[in-house]
Amino acid sequence: MRVQKKIIKVCGLKDPDNMRAVGMLRPDMMGFIFHRPSPRDVTDTIGDLPLLDIPASVTRVAVVVDQSLEFCLGIVERFGFGAIQLHGYQTPEFCRTLRKHCLVIKAFALRNALPVDVADYEGCCDYFLFDTAGTAAGGSGMTFNHAVLYNYRGHTPFLVAGGLDHDTSLNILDLPIPYMAGVDLNSRYEITPGIKDPDRVNRTITSIRQPRPHKQGNPLKNLRLQRVNQLPHPDENGYYGEFGGAFIPELLQANVDELKSVYKQYINEEGFKNAFGQLLNDYVGRPTPLYYALRLSELFGCRIYLKREDLCHTGAHKLNNVVGQALLAQKMNKKQIVAETGAGQHGVATATVCAMLGLPCRVFMGEKDTRRQKVNVLRMKMLGAEVIPVTSGSQTLKDATNEAIRYWINHPDDTYYLIGSSIGPHPYPDMVARFQSVISHEIKWQLAEKEGRQDPDYVLACVGGGSNAAGAFFHFIDNGFTRLVGAEAAGKGVNSGHTAATISVGSQGVLHGTKTLLMQNADGQIVEAHSISAGLDYPGIGPMHAWLHHTSRAGFLAITDTEAMEAARMLSLTEGIIPAIESAHALALLNKLSLKETDVVVVNLSGRGDKDMETYSEYYPHYEENKQKQ
């Protein structure tokens, strides 16, 4: 269960006036240190301190280091401490005895791993407190590696101590870690040892108690849940409501018309469907598991399933679509395939299928992305594809798409353009959504087996162009029940100017052949997108999602780089699954929703994190360092 109200403990008080001033701020706990070597020691002065001036709502905590039971019981009795915090080597038995008289907080010192004996204290303490190793009774100003908290397997709520300042405290409380009960503020709030700065304490208390802006209310309250009798197919001209269409130069018209008719001819043809289904099973490795994530479910207090698209051959959902389109390209007698790629997942999937079908393959990839996703470049090359780095514009997905389309314009007869997301001119968005819709098709029967119902309460997916989200939403769109939530990449923040959150900051326009929502400036020039994840770094969104947003059938929330990276670490440590950074955006949604115990939530885990190891390994140490510098 998640601990809802967070505990704020201010520790190491010793001065009467300062104590009163801090008491007025009503933290949940105030700590007094009984440890002679500490500059904050009160062993000899406790009798003179106005303990009774502290408001009754504030629990007074005696902090002791390896003291006897008599000592502990003595101070609890004489000075009316409501809790005792034990540093050192007291046994579980000791805690159990003491607990008959007051609350017991058992402190553990750590640096890079949780102490092995934590489990022994389960059930005999009210709280644990995790502090930085190195100094007795805290106050060193150093933090420990907070990522280890994801490894906590216990059920006793815990506080985090050790070098926390305002930002670190808030960051920590944002981590979706079960049983995290609160923070312990000490040296970083001091003017001199033992004297706290009430202003700084006040600022942190106020911020923590303020309803967190992103949790305020229900971000999905405007969702329109209405049963409709139709799956999300666009009209004859490729329109989903006012979005979509085919805004292509005449140079592409014949190509697109040909594709439209071939697509229409084969999509419902038995032979084609069988060939597609066979490859999905035998080559892609479908059906992918729908995994009940136990620890994640505990963490968020609901029932969470992961749709394991990361287990598809090549490591992402992208292959589903590529197999379908490549079969069409064969039907059209095309002699070569050209594709764009962002994270390289679509490029790898395309190179893979081309190798399997014996078709030459050219992949355009932004120069910047070739650096971020080196391994995928190597994979494509090994698969025999030609990777062409794109140096125009922002050197990311948008520009790779421009170049792929230009190549197509220049080679209209023999080339099939195999688009990687549910973007582009009609019929691409519809076609990609259909090929990906196998995801929601499987979720339905898998969920029926596991939960006895086909429709989950939530489906969560990340949205770059929108193909995995389109596939995961597809068969739920008409049910008027399932809350469909997309995560778009906020980058450094929706208003930072370094974002890819198209729905949040975009407006209607035309790009890459479709009318949709775009990130553009006042003159209609497309602006560069930013996201730490190469696969979400696109300034547009597929027309189907623009329509789902417009009609409020789906909700879209922006997830920052930091939130995604944190969610990736959370999944790695709680479930033993390293997600792609793209997919981590979908996981980060869990932290933004108000979920009930009975809610069944499906997170579409679109890809695995192998390709992102370099980004992860560069990010985390750097991030810890930044946190410590703050």
């Binding site: 001209n237 130069p249 125009s392 230009r406 220049n410 890459h512 003159d523 209609g524």
Partner: protein
């Protein structure tokens, strides 16, 4: 602001003499923001018959590297539709030569279609080319606005456009049909013997609308070939490339003409198009009934 029907372009296209036309594409605001007008004037003075003014876009899908780069520079210079109209308004409604705006749909939609057309018309623009606005969309929701503001809308045909569609384009075209000489982005030089047959096929279709060949006109051979089958030819990359190398408009034009095997032409026969000679504007001949005035 001019109040006469803006038919100077039609006048040119349907000139009873068998004169062939040359058009040059420039990118507005390139190489420097204030270069739009001097370039237009120089080109017109040198005998270029009509002009295409490129409205730069961040993602010019149908353009090759040279025009892409000129667009990027123009945007960096601060070019926008607002700035362009401001610049063009200095011509007081009379362009040095009939002029078209060419670009991509998104900036136009962002500016507002109605406002765009109204401004374009007010500064004296004859027509608009938006390659990524397809015919279906045009007919359904855009045509009425262009018509209201009496702007021509120019369609493209390519070697892959089927005959039925060419006929349809011919039907709805009001000025000329922009013949894309090869399946290619701008500036690409295909060795293209298929082009001859293609142009011949178009000519044999006996279309009502004059043809103007664009894309890939880069030397005397391609120009003469275009002129053999069509009323005119458009070149862009060859001129932009010279400007990019730092040549002055005058030098770029004279070298371009040389490259195309042309002598710099005199403007005396087309003085009516220069602002100085505004008084002769009255001398328009009545248009043939075949012509549509938008």
């Amino acid at each position: 602001m001019s109040t006469k029907p803006n038919d100077s372009l039609l006048e040119l296209l349907h000139d009873s003499r068998e004169e062939k036309l040359l058009s040059v594409y420039i990118t507005a605001g390139f190489p420097c923001l204030e270069d739009t007008m001097p370039d237009m004037k120089t080109l017109a003075r040198s005998g270029v018959d009509f002009l295409e003014i490129g409205m730069p876009f961040s993602d010019p899908l149908a353009d090759g590297p040279v025009i892409q780069q000129s667009s990027t520079i123009a945007l960096q210079n601060g070019m926008s539709l607002g700035v362009l109209f401001e610049q063009l308004s200095a011509f007081n409604g009379i362009m040095p030569a009939p002029s078209l705006l060419m670009g991509y749909l998104n900036p136009v939609l962002c500016f507002g279609l109605e406002a765009f057309c109204q401004k374009a018309r007010a500064v004296g623009i004859s027509g608009v080319i938006l390659p990524d606005l397809p015919m279906r969309e045009y007919l359904e929701s855009y045509r009425k606005v262009f018509q209201k503001h009496r702007l021509h809308f120019i369609f493209l045909v390519t070697p892959t456009t089927p005959e039925s569609r060419i006929r349809q384009i011919d039907e709805v075209s009001t000025a000329f049909i922009y013949v894309v000489g090869s399946s290619s982005t701008t500036g690409n030089q295909h060795s293209d013997h298929g082009r001859e047959t293609y142009l011949k096929r178009l000519l044999d279709m006996n279309l009502k609308t004059p043809l103007v060949v664009g894309f890939g006109i880069s030397n005397a051979t391609s120009l003469q070939q275009a002129w053999r089958y069509a009323k005119g030819a458009i070149t862009g990359t060859a001129y932009i490339g010279r400007r990019m190398k730092g040549q002055s408009p005058d030098k770029a034009v004279s070298e371009l003409f040389h490259q195309l095997g042309l002598k710099p032409r005199s403007t005396s026969d087309r003085q009516a198009q220069t602002p100085e000679a505004e008084t002769t504007v009255e001398a328009f001949k009545p248009l043939t009934s075949k012509l549509y005035i938008p």
